[in-house]
């Protein structure tokens, strides 16, 4: 009877439940090279498919000659749009309600676009086949600038023109121009403009949030296997949303959903890149049906950077008004959004610009207005949420830059300006001017803690001295203090306003307790490195009183996992985590009845205590969850059916709103443009903390991706629509050498509507980090007249800023 001598503290410790830094169960296989990623899958007779891609950004396709390719040894088939058209698969729906060519249908709209799919016995034969496909192109005028596209006579998409020649309505309402996709508005235009027009102080700024790419280390890919005997299609792939992919595949192929099994194996990072549906998936499925063999498609790095899922590319203009004392009175934001050749954003249907309307940030702004215009250009489609909830990085960058610009306009300290405008603790739940209801927050406490920890006043004094020394010729280095206070909006989301292609954005968990007191739980999400197998077991351990080490977590197989919308937008903990807790509580409710029966008392006379039910007032009388599990299966209990299982589909009542305070201290060499990060302090409030070790790891990683985006990472095009950053030679991914050590900190403000109060953390550091790094650069040059410069702040651009400010004279 070990239980009786074990202290309550030891029993809690044994569970490894919420709040402990449990080591990850995933790591054994990954550290031994035994992960199972999609490219590791090998099936008998498996073929390999790869694309002929367009070298032009905009061209008519005059002819495709596949005859020579079909003569290449090892090549079995070459698919073109003509082969897909009879099946209705030459175009496919995008998640944003638009359509996208699977294979070039008469023309191409961006460099790297898929033109033909070569199916061969292996990668080498496929590459040989690609070389032998002859495509005759007729070049067309290229539009890479969305502002020019909105004025051009060149029609990028013939399907945007109505029969009478006027722009046809799109998925999100009328078009202003044939290259225009949608206009989306939030807030009150009239009152906002009136407030700003009559304000004491107005700061205006135009900024470009450049195009970049999530670039997970593993590219996208899949293996499609059509079993013609049983009529079953199995599709393994790098899917952040396996169930959504199954539904989409069913809808476009006509194969019934029960005959499709989608499996996401281990995924080598996602960051939003692996949410959408790509032509490679469709072509692999078709090729498998045509050849009767499994077909694998794996992007190479250039394919990945050039074609699947860019992020950002927002041209933003802002006006913020305030009193002379610095109290913000109104905010106006206009965005021209470059979506490339197809609108393939992965946003909830009703939000064509995602949650850009969180752009009032952490501030109590009485009136605001947002307008977003989506535009087609000759660039790759995408517009995904790169390590953020839908367009939230753009929104937070916008407001955190506008605050800095307003501080300049007011000649005020930017930390103080933030403080006097924060939403106050007692204002939560807070209804923001652009529509959202923030669940909880305590911004002042977090901000004060952050400023105090870094000795903000001391830093400002040091910076002032540095400016003096610089002017006196004693140093060539400037000091920048980057501030950022962000509020995220994650956990999409309530089915009443969040769906993707009509699929409600709930999530799910199904638990099966085994007779000897261990368990398996399956979820509708899929980990890409976040450690779900570790943390979800911790939630359950605390909820059902069985040790996390005795709970297996399984995700990603649509034949076994309950339906869910997957992992992106920091939605796993807020939505599936909630489902897990709720399913756990159903288990506990049944366990309570069983315990009461076993202890021969009324249901209400027992209470849950860590890992057992005890008789109220008599703690020596108890039944452990392990004993209860055994009884559930093996003892006839009147009125209770055998077994111990539960399922929960959780439709969240609201989003969650994690927040944080970040401060970066940088030294910048004005002659080389080299920034050196001296200190980075990150305070995150993600509500209840499930696993502090994993939270810290997420913060380190998110900040590093923020550093990348702020300091150099971009997908750049020339005027001909050529991608200039298509390999890791040109596309900046920081190495250990460029990355600093981060200091992490936290406050805890639980979400009031989430069963365990957790808010999600994976994306916060990216969202808050980008403006923090950027603000540090801009702040260093503020004493010399800098107001705003666009990212990415690579060495050359920083040098150029210094040069334009006359610092090299």
């Amino acid at each position: 009877m070990k239980d009786e001598v074990t202290s309550r503290e030891e029993r809690i410790e044994n569970l490894k439940g919420m709040g402990c830094s449990r080591k990850r169960v995933e790591d054994a296989r990954f550290t031994q090279g035994k992960g199972n990623y999609v490219d590791d899958i090998k099936l008998d007779g498996m073929l390999f498919g790869d694309f002929v891609r367009s070298p032009y950004a905009h061209a008519k396709i005059v002819n495709i000659d596949t005859s020579a390719a079909l003569e290449v040894p090892g090549v079995l088939a070459v698919l073109t749009a003509k082969d897909l058209e009879p099946l209705g698969l030459h175009w496919m729906p995008t998640l944003a309600g638009d359509r996208q060519m699977v294979l070039a249908d008469g023309k191409v709209l961006f460099q790297g676009q898929e033109v033909a799919f070569v199916v061969a016995v292996d990668r080498y034969a496929a590459a040989d086949g690609i070389e032998a496909v002859e495509v005759e192109y007729e070049e067309l005028e290229v539009l890479v600038d969305p502002f020019k596209a909105m004025k051009s006579d060149v029609v990028l998409r013939p399907d945007t023109v109505a029969e009478d020649g006027s722009p046809a309505a799109g998925a999100h309402g009328p078009r202003k121009h044939h290259n225009h996709i949608f206009t989306w508005e939030a807030g009150d235009k009239g009152p906002t403009f009136e407030t700003i027009d009559n304000a004491e102080v107005v700061a205006e700024e135009t900024m470009y949030y450049h195009r970049t790419h999530p670039c997970p280390l593993e590219t996208c890919g899949c293996v499609a296997s059509m079993d013609k005997v049983n009529g079953k299609l199995t599709l393994w792939g790098t899917f952040q949303a396996p169930h959504a992919i199954r539904t989409v595949v069913s809808l476009i192929s006509g194969i019934e959903e029960h005959n499709i099994r989608v499996i996401s194996p281990d995924i080598g990072g996602g960051f939003g890149n692996k949410v959408g549906a790509y032509p490679g998936y469709v072509c692999s499925v078709v090729a498998s049906i045509v050849t009767g063999k499994p077909v694998k498609w794996i992007e190479d790095r250039m394919d990945n950077l050039m074609t699947t899922a860019f992020a950002r590319d927002y041209h933003m203009t802002g006006r913020v008004s305030a009193t002379r004392e610095g109290k913000i009175t109104g905010l106006h934001c206009h965005v021209t959004a470059d979506h490339g050749g197809f609108d393939a954003c992965a946003d909830p249907t009703k939000f064509p610009a995602g949650f850009m309307n969180i752009c009032t940030g952490s501030y109590d702004i009485p009136t605001a207005f947002l307008q977003v215009d989506g535009v087609y250009t000759n660039k790759a489609p995408g517009g995904v949420s790169y390590r953020c909830s839908f367009r939230v990085t753009e929104a937070v960058y916008f407001i955190e830059r506008m605050i800095e610009v307003l501080a300049i306009e007011l000649n005020m300290d930017a930390a103080e300006l933030r403080r006097i405008n924060f939403i106050k603790k007692e204002q939560f739940p807070y209804k923001a001017a652009l529509g959202w209801e923030y669940d909880s927050g305590d911004y002042h406490t977090a901000w004060d803690k952050a400023l105090k920890t870094v000795d903000y006043e001391g830093l400002r004094a040091e910076q002032a001295q540095r400016v003096e020394d610089f002017k006196a010729g004693k140093t060539r280095s400037l000091m920048g203090i980057g501030l950022s206070f962000f509020t995220e909006i994650v956990g999409a989301g309530p089915v009443k306003n969040c769906d993707i292609l009509g699929l409600g954005m709930f999530d799910s968990c199904e638990i099966r307790i085994h007779p000897t007191g261990s368990a398996i739980a399956r979820l509708g999400t899929i980990s890409q490195g976040q450690g779900h197998a570790t943390t979800f077991a911790q939630i359950l351990a605390s909820e059902i009183g069985l040790p996390a080490d005795s709970i297996t977590i399984e995700e990603g197989d649509t034949d076994t996992a309950p339906y869910g919308l997957g992992t992106y937008g920091s939605r796993s903990t807020p939505v599936a985590g909630a489902a897990t807790a709720m399913a756990g509580r159903k288990i506990r409710a049944k366990a309570q009845m069983i315990a009461a029966y076993l202890l021969e008392v009324h249901d209400n006379d027992v209470e849950f205590d860590v890992d057992r039910f005890v008789v109220k007032g008599a703690p020596e009388k108890f039944k452990t969850m392990k004993e209860i599990a055994f009884a559930a299966y093996n003892q006839a209990i009147p009125g209770i059916e055998p077994g111990l299982e539960a399922v929960s589909y959780y439709d969240p009542p609201n989003m969650t709103y994690p927040f944080g305070a970040y401060i970066c201290v940088m030294d910048i060499d004005v002659d080389t443009g080299l920034p050196e990060i001296r200190r980075f302090y990150a305070l995150d409030d993600c509500g209840t903390r499930i696993n502090p070790m994993i939270i810290e790891g997420q913060v380190h990683g998110g900040l590093t991706e923020a550093l990348a985006v702020a300091l150099g990472q971009e997908i750049a095009y020339d005027d001909m629509g050529n991608v200039k950053t298509g390999t890791l030679m040109d596309f900046f991914l920081p190495t250990a050498w460029e990355v600093p050590n981060y200091e992490t900190d936290y406050t805890v403000t639980p979400s009031p509507h989430h069963p365990i109060g957790a808010k999600g953390v994976g994306e916060s550091p990216h969202v808050g980090g980008v403006p923090c790094f950027s603000n540090a650069i801009q702040d260093a040059f503020r004493p010399f007249g800098n107001r705003h410069t666009n990212m990415p702040h690579d060495h050359w651009r920083i040098w150029k800023t210094a040069n334009e400010l006359g610092l090299h004279d």
Partner: protein, 164 residues
């Protein structure tokens, strides 16, 4: 397509003989021909290091080496560094210090770190960061990778001292 040639390589102590086109890249030989899937493909331009293996005592990115160049050589991959019954201190340390998330870079990372510690058993933090700069991780921000390597180094040095 060119004529197949005869090659012999030793991988994780096992001799392998086969016919292959000389243009075949070593990572392909390992992953597709020999089913050694620990090393991964991340960039195919020698930048990311997911494909790192050790060849005749040097860290090599196997995605940009032809199988012809590897003929007759001894190759070690993550599978040859440690398994369930003989975990290498680096494998233990990476788990202990949360030095990985998605796991895709991890085999290359550990393979490189092992070589680094052989070359320099007592590296400073800067030496670790510089020595690991050929291996990209998109998830961890490197802080815990550095910590893992420091911990493994300490453990290996202590074990060595105890043995002496």
């Amino acid at each position: 397509m060119s004529k197949k040639q005869h090659y012999k390589i030793t991988v994780n102590g096992k001799e392998e003989e086969f016919l292959a086109e000389p243009r075949e890249l070593l990572i392909y030989t390992l992953r597709e021909r020999l089913n050694i899937t620990g090393p991964h493909i991340g960039c195919e331009t020698s930048h990311c290091g997911a494909c790192t293996v050790t060849i005749d005592g040097k860290s090599v990115k196997s995605c940009t080496m032809f199988v012809a160049q590897a003929d007759g050589k001894k190759i070690t991959t993550i599978e040859g560094i440690g398994g369930p019954d003989n975990l290498h201190p680096l494998q233990t340390a990476f788990k202990e210090h949360h030095g990985l998330q998605c796991g895709y870079c991890t085999p290359g990372m550990i393979t490189r770190a092992k070589k680094l510690l052989e070359e320099n058993p007592n590296p400073t933090e800067a030496e670790i960061r510089f020595g690991m700069a050929g291996n990209i991780c998109r998830c961890t921000g490197y802080q815990n990778i550095v910590k893992s390597i420091q911990a493994a180094a300490a453990e290996m040095n202590a074990a060595k001292e105890a043995a002496e």
